[in-house]
């Protein structure tokens, strides 16, 4: 799903958009998607019906040529809600004049429009037009009529005229090479073989016959990819298989009298597959002010991401660069913890293994990712930053499929297929860094692993039609662990004080049931998650936190009239937390409120110890009413009410309003404003480590944007935004009276902040040989920790963020892509002197103005080369992903000498070539 498409459908068709790439004569009925990740066509879709067939007029001048061209023209077009056709483009060209004639013919077609749930919807179609020159008739004196093409209309190709009840001579199946999925709608045409030898016709000999074939027999494959050709004469026969989006296949075979020849042919998907089989369910098309979606194929090819779905989002406008190539999602200057990531409608506790290595959910099972940098719908909450919503895909139903992938970090496997009327998908992955890293680290380097870094994850999903809807059961989880030992050479044992140990895991089980009937739709999804975070840092910090979360999401929606929709929902989040924590007191306010502070460590008896079993609840109600004021104008007021249970005990009221207008057919204007709240972090309102009287933080989001569709798949968009934040949690130096005792306040809600800027994007959507985008964000994110303090840059402010991505498909299934990033350095607090902590011998910095300096500008070029080999039954994909091609030394942070008088930089990752391969069958 690309951004342009989403905008078009969202605005015009009340949030219901269906784009189905089909080739006539295959009707636009619900069909299993031909590609992994393509969502199924929803039930209730009625395909458009052709009402006015048209003829393609074969230009007389061309027909008079010595060798008039013949072959297939593939045309893509959109059937509008009034039945007319538009946006016709040539996907597969034959001859300029014939192409023009084909476009003319398509422009004159008229359909009964497709409908969904009773409403007319736009449908994207493709049509394969077989064109053969007309026979050279004896000219009739005085006749100036132009000859017509042999296949004059783009209606379903009729069976051969000589289709008497003759026996079937060739029967077979057409499948997609590599994945063996049956291909529906393939046009299989038999004709005389001429001088061609038996076997597959090489590409160089795949010329159309110079004359009109003496006979042709044609068939179209059904759902199972089956076809049969009857009445084929004995002898050598040439069979051509044409399927939109696939390379043409020609075979010559011998047909003997009385025999039925059984065949199975495998067609190779074209590198520049024009398909964009993307179905948005109604629930997913709530209009957003700024919404960027990344298609699966784009995800898999973005350089520098190793094909990782969630990391691809980091390249979109408004997203700042994460340090050290990590996985932080820094949206519009907000801290990663201020944004929320949903998967299947529920939050996930960790996005990436080890903070950024690779995402915890298999990218092959991700259908789409919606990136909502601000002003998002009321269904998302407890975040003052942005939101990312990950939608998983269903297992395939076109047969059982498997895949194995291997890269430098891990190896994984995926199995999927049909189960009854439904489908399943199973996946698992494990790293082998624990085998490699200890081997490459120098033995005398002072660093050794008791348990080297290792991670694993798993995913399982079953989707099954039930009671007119779909029931989804999903389970997934992740486990990371490492134990590092900083050992001096005079130490023999494994002293805990030299040890850094971390283990983080979670397991989650979801159920979801969705159903539509008439104008109504409903969804309910309970989810249970258990996650654990254990960390020990040189006996100073010791965390062991286990959380059981039960969350339930339910939604009911009803379309009102032709252009409006009312939706109400609830999100109930319940956390049962068991914590055993030992840590030094939180840092003092030595640098000013929010985000700063020195790492001050006291002795063992200065530790604060907390053992607690606690409950935190966060029930929320939300509703939105999308009002179609006009064909081109939509207004969506929404509201979210969130109750934060003890110790916060407060209700957050979050009204939001969004506006969209189609100024022209290609221009969309959006605007929005809304309140967003976020509860204090667990440690911040803890009775010992924090302040239980803290209130939720708040933000006002405002934005206005414009999006312009350009020719082809190009688009340009820009969004200006301003965020005001208040009640931010800030460190407090004060003592307060609580429970009759004087206690340190530690935190209060004295902070305020502001973020403003603009995001711009020029994008070439997936569709041809080239895809990519240029995104530029200019912004400023500032915070005032306490009243009276001066404004300071927030930790995640990056003034300029430029990302250029381009990927180009080369012949023979090669693809090359590049990414270049140029961003402002991260803010840093200058330090020029320090204080020696005499009680532990460690230095303490004397910090300068909070975030008063910046690291040097970051720039990096990444390169990616992909090559796919498609064989009959397997497909092998390999890639080389080189990060930081010219090995730029980009400083990420400063480290200081013992007295803080000298410093040096820790650079970002050096050049890292990464190789991966994936075998599918």
């Amino acid at each position: 799903m690309n951004m342009h498409f989403a905008s078009r459908t969202n605005v015009r068709y009340r949030g219901l958009a269906v784009a189905v790439a089909l080739a006539l004569p295959v009707a636009a009925e619900a069909a299993e998607p031909p590609a992994p990740g393509a969502a199924a066509v929803p039930e209730g879709l009625t395909a458009p019906e052709l009402e006015t067939p048209q003829s393609l007029v074969y230009p007389p001048e061309l027909a008079a040529a010595e060798q008039p061209p013949s072959g297939t023209i593939l045309v893509a077009f959109v059937v509008a809600t009034d039945g007319s056709t538009k946006e016709a483009t040539i996907v597969q060209s034959l001859h300029p004049e014939l192409d023009a004639a084909a476009l003319d013919a398509v422009a004159r077609l008229h359909y009964r429009p497709a409908t969904y749930a009773g409403n007319a919807v736009e449908v994207s179609l493709q049509m394969a037009i077989e064109v053969t020159p007309p026979p050279r008739p004896e000219p009739e004196p005085g006749s100036g009529a132009a000859p017509e093409a042999a296949v004059p209309t783009p209606t379903p190709t009729p069976e051969p005229a000589a289709a008497a009840p003759t026996p079937v001579r060739i029967r077979g199946t057409v499948r997609e090479a590599g994945v063996r999925a049956p291909l529906r709608g393939a046009i299989v045409t038999a004709m005389p073989a001429g001088e061609l030898p038996i076997g597959k016709v090489p590409f160089r000999k795949r010329r159309p016959p110079s004359d009109v074939p003496a006979w042709t027999v044609q068939s179209t494959t059904d759902d199972a990819g089956h076809f049969s050709l009857a009445g084929v004469p004995d002898g050598r026969t040439r069979v051509a298989i044409l399927t939109p989006g696939f390379e043409r296949l020609d075979y010559v075979l011998e047909v003997h009298g009385g025999e039925v020849t059984e065949v199975t042919w495998f067609q190779v998907r074209m590198n520049t597959n024009p398909y964009r089989t993307e179905v948005l369910t109604e629930a997913e098309t709530m209009p957003e002010i700024t919404r960027h979606a990344v298609e699966r194929e784009e995800i898999q090819r973005i350089p520098g991401t190793n094909g990782d779905a969630l990391r691809s989002v980091q390249n979109l406008p408004g997203m700042a660069r994460a340090a050290f190539g990590g996985g932080d999602l820094i949206i519009r200057g907000a801290a990663p913890g201020d944004s929320v990531v949903y998967l299947g409608g529920h939050e996930i506790p960790a996005l990436f293994h080890f903070g950024g290595l690779t995402s915890v959910f298999n990218s092959d099972l991700v259908a789409r990712i919606d990136y909502l940098p601000g002003n998002f719908d009321g269904r998302y909450g407890d975040a003052t930053g942005g939101a990312v919503s990950v939608t998983t895909r269903r297992g395939r139903r076109d047969g059982h499929h498997s895949a194995v992938d291997v890269d430098v970090f891990d190896a994984g496997a995926l199995v999927e297929g049909p189960v009854g009327k439904g489908s399943f998908a199973l996946s698992a992955r494990r790293s082998y860094i624990d085998a490699i890293l200890p081997a490459i680290l120098p033995r005398d380097g002072g660093l050794r692993f008791t348990a080297a870094p290792r991670y694993w994850d798993y995913q399982a999903q079953i989707d099954y039609p039930l009671w007119g809807g779909t029931l989804t059961a999903r389970a997934f989880g992740s486990d990371d662990r490492t134990v590092l030992l900083f050992a001096e050479q005079n130490e023999d044992g494994d002293d805990l004080r030299s040890q850094f140990e971390t283990r983080q895991w979670f397991h989650r089980a979801d159920l979801a049931y969705e159903r539509r009937w008439g104008r109504w739709s409903a969804m309910i999804s309970p989810s249970y998650r258990r996650d654990s975070f254990q960390q020990r840092v040189v006996e100073i910090f010791d965390f062991d936190i286990v959380t059981d979360r039960l969350s339930v999401r339910g939604e009911v929606a009803r379309t009102v009239g032709k252009r409006s929709e009312l939706r109400v929902g609830t999100e109930l989040v319940n956390d049962w937390i068991s914590a055993d924590v030992a840590s030094p007191p939180p840092p003092g306010d030595t640098t000013g409120g929010r985000g700063g502070g020195n790492a001050v460590a006291g002795g063992l008896n200065d530790q604060l110890i907390r053992k607690v079993d606690d409950y935190r609840g966060r029930p929320a109600l939300y509703g939105s009413f999308r009002i179609g004021l006009h064909d081109r104008v939509t207004l969506t007021p929404s509201v979210r009410l969130t109750y934060y249970s003890a110790p916060t005990n407060r209700v957050a009221f979050e009204p939001r309003l969004r506006f969209e207008a189609d100024a022209t057919k290609t221009t969309r204007i959006t605007a929005g404003a809304g309140i967003f709240s976020q509860g204090p972090q667990l440690v911040q309102n803890d009775a010992v480590f924090g302040n239980p009287d803290l209130r939720p933080e708040n933000a006002l989001h405002t934005s206005i944007g414009v999006e312009q569709k350009l020719r082809g798949d190009w688009s340009i968009s820009g969004t200006g935004f301003y965020k005001h934040l208040w009640s931010l949690v800030s460190t407090s130096p004060d003592e307060i009276e609580r429970g009759g005792q004087r206690v340190p306040e530690r935190y209060d809600n004295a902070g305020i902040g502001r973020v403003y800027g603009g995001e711009f994007m020029v994008r070439k959507a997936l569709g041809g040989k080239l895809f990519g985008w240029a995104s530029y964000t200019i912004s400023r994110s500032e915070v005032q920790g306490r009243p009276g303090q001066s404004w300071a840059l927030f930790d995640y402010d990056q003034t300029h963020i430029l990302t250029l991505i381009a990927s180009y498909k080369l012949p023979r299934n090669w693809q090359i892509g590049t990414r270049f990033r140029l961003t402002s350095g991260n803010p840093t607090t200058p330090v020029a002197h320090g204080v020696t902590q005499l009680y532990d011998g460690v230095g303490l910095a004397l910090p300068g103005p909070y975030n008063g300096d910046r690291m040097r500008t970051f720039h990096q070029l990444d390169l990616r080369i992909d090559k796919t080999w498609t064989m009959r039954r397997v497909r092998l994909h390999t890639y080389l992903d080189i990060q930081n091609v010219y090995n730029a030394k980009n400083p990420e942070m400063r480290i200081y000498s013992w007295n803080f008088k000298k410093s040096t930089s820790i650079n970002s990752l050096p050049i890292i070539p990464s190789i991966g391969l994936k075998l599918e069958w």
């Binding site: 990663p336 950024g356 005079n490 607690v612 009680y839 011998g841 004397l846």
Partner: protein, 367 residues
Amino acid sequence: MVGMVRGLVWLFAFAMGVVGCGDLPDSQLVIERRILAARPWVVDALEPTAAGARDRAEALPLETLQIDPLWVGPNGVIPSDDVDAIWIACELTLGAAPFTCLSERFGDLTLDDLPACVVDDPDAPPSSPRQVPSPCLLERTGAPSFTVPLSTGILAGADLELTVVTGDPDGTSTEACADALLAGEWDPPSDCIYGVQVVPVGPKPTLLAAAQAAGLVPDDVALPPADDPDTHPRITSFRVTVLDDDGEAVGEAREVARGEIVDVPRGTTLRIDTTSPQADLQKFSVVVNDGASAEEREESYTGQWFRTWGSQLATASLSPESYNEWTLDPDGDDPELPEDGLAHLYYVVRDARHGVAWWWFTARVVP
């Protein structure tokens, strides 16, 4: 959580070898005046000290403490009397991190404004709270002593924060260094030296019992079990052995007295073995859930090694029986051997609370 994730990323970066610390000076090489540690100990206790008892690191109100700093330089240990230092005492708020007491007042203070640390009402009876201004100036000496005040904050469990400031006899004055710090300057003159020490007031259960007896704490508040006072550890043995090129001992190890000078041929590697008694490590209570219960912990040793010249095998030691190797040869960019041919080795051991001990000796490098 985010900080931890960043920490993990840093560790990973470290593991990947992208961390470049080579540009920074060796923290264990003493090439300028430094203060390595400070040892506050009770010299005037409220109750007589038992014979043979180890020095206490924490004091009760009205007891007098002596602060002994370890000033060192490239030419060896510097006597405290030779250091012009300013000591500023500040009463930490309960549960606050060290150095927050003074640093939160930066910008509002000048040296001239700081009062002396004397009881605000000397005529008050000894049993009543004897408030002392905070922050305040201790006597201006390299090794001051002072009496712990009896204030409501102290009775509530607060500790004392001591900040020491000194300048350079040949450069910035101590007063200028102090003013720069108190003004909140983040880039004071580079030859200024700053240190901060926490003086624990306790044991806390004893203090709480006293506060309850004085009516400052309700009678129904349960008192935690009594703890022994935090005491300083000892270094009971400091032995030096000469190693040959194969790392084998040449001759017997011999005890080296604190500050002793030994003659060592250039290029020799010395093995130093130290002993701090396991018995000196104390058990103590740490409160859980803000005092709802307590957990018992045990101290542990952390030793730091410093040198003025040569190279050393390790920078730290973690066990009671600790060793290190000191090779009397220049290491990398080390400075040239001083003309007097003396190289110094300092060893500071802490017990993870406030106990500290140190040792040093000098090698006269013989060509």
